[in-house]
Amino acid sequence: MKFVAVSIAVLTRQFRRFSKSPGAIGGRMVRQKNSRFLHLVLQSRVRRRSAGFSLILVFLMVLTVLTTTLSINSRLIAGQYAESLQAKLRMARNAAENGLILASSELNKPGNRLLLGNLPSSQWASRWDQQQEWPVKGNYYSLLSDNEFNSLSYECKKYVTGSASDSDYDRRRRPFQVTEQAVRMPTSASLQLETGETQSSRIVGFKLYDKDYNLISSENGKVSATEKSYLVLVAQGYYNSSTPYQSDRWRVDTTSAQYAASAYKTTRFVLQQEYEVIPRCCGSSFAEPFGTDTVKPQSSLKCQDNKIVEWYVRGTTRASAHNSKL
């Protein structure tokens, strides 16, 4: 045991002596071996780190650039959508404006000029639906009886149109026929009309006021035969690229499945306008105080020279945009 202990002590001293000596070959070799071992271990770690780091960097770069690009694209698409939105609203507004012109001019057609002052607006459509109650001749319906019509001045029957196959009586009478488009206007079932290839319009509001802006009842009220009244029309314009029309191309087929299916694609715009309703005599222009014609309307609904009072929708006194919906 003593020998073993002495041997270890000698060897340890020798090793320390060699290792402390700067020029000792044994110490260098040991340090070199230790250093190479550490170097290899670390180098392998570094390699692994280097490889992973490079790929992650590329992934991050691609991801960052893609995210940035998508953000820019989203911004561009949003701008593009806004432009498209504006264009659609313009189309719907345009349809509403055209609808108002069509509605007011429909009431100004010779056959419809008697409606406003001769029949309360709530009865227009119901009388149309009960056709036998109207003075009937041929296929036409008007507010004038045969006697009233025959006694009219020739100037009131001026605009004669019709096909050659019509009898002379029908041809003369045609200008005084009421149209369905006009009589449906005050109801919730007003007709939706084509106002462009992809646009249409419908009257959604119809009110009459007297000269003092008191509401005229739709049940039993009629406009004055001697004073100015006001008509307020509210039109809804529609823009829908797949709007289906009936075969005559002036009325939208609102009952079709195609119309129901495309409803979500419709852009709407609501416009309101107020018009003056001026009484005048048929075959004449506006008389005092609305114009300079000498033939004046009377409260009896008669005029001189075998003429009768009719009502004309004129001018726009007020207008406003209600709302829009996409």
């Binding site: 490079s54 432009e83 001019s105 075959g283 114009g291 004309y312």
Partner: protein
Amino acid sequence: MMLSLRPRCLDSLSRPGRMICIDRQGFSLIEPIISSVLLLIGAIQIATLFDINMRAVENSRAINSADLEIHVMIDKVRNLGSSYNWCNGSGSVNTANCTKHISEDAQAFYSPSSDRLSDFVASCKDPATQFSGSRNFDPSKDKIISNLSNSVNALGNADSSEGVKITSVFEDEKIRRFKISFERSIDINGEPRTLKRWLYLIPDLANWCP
């Protein structure tokens, strides 16, 4: 020297910016290839996405611009219709012919004097004739607003690819209701596309007709 450098180099690997030992770690060929391929694919995707989007934006702007151009023309026509007067006896778009402006006296603007009102009413009772072979009526043949019809048509271009082309017809000749079409052709991805808008117009003057 190398031996004395290594420990410092190894010690400094944790610090950024010391790349002296990297060249001693070997060169991997697969990494740059994969990286390049990924970057290339990413770049192509981005380029395609941008190209499609920019084309869509360009097309949208072209359509929007043409639509606006048409609407500007619609406003011009509408103003023309409201300023059309009977001051020179046969209808005119020139308000200088009138001694009174519509804002001062609308009645005098549309029917300046009673003796000429009879001429006006007589002209009203002579509506336009039909286009041959068409259901529409020719507004330029109307006795009241033929000048207006000509002025409206003159506002537009003959070729819709160079500007807004205007075509006006009477949809209802008795109440002088115009149906005016506005056309503008633009290029969409090299293909011509024509935008068409409609305007219904009744000049205020026509309301004075019986």
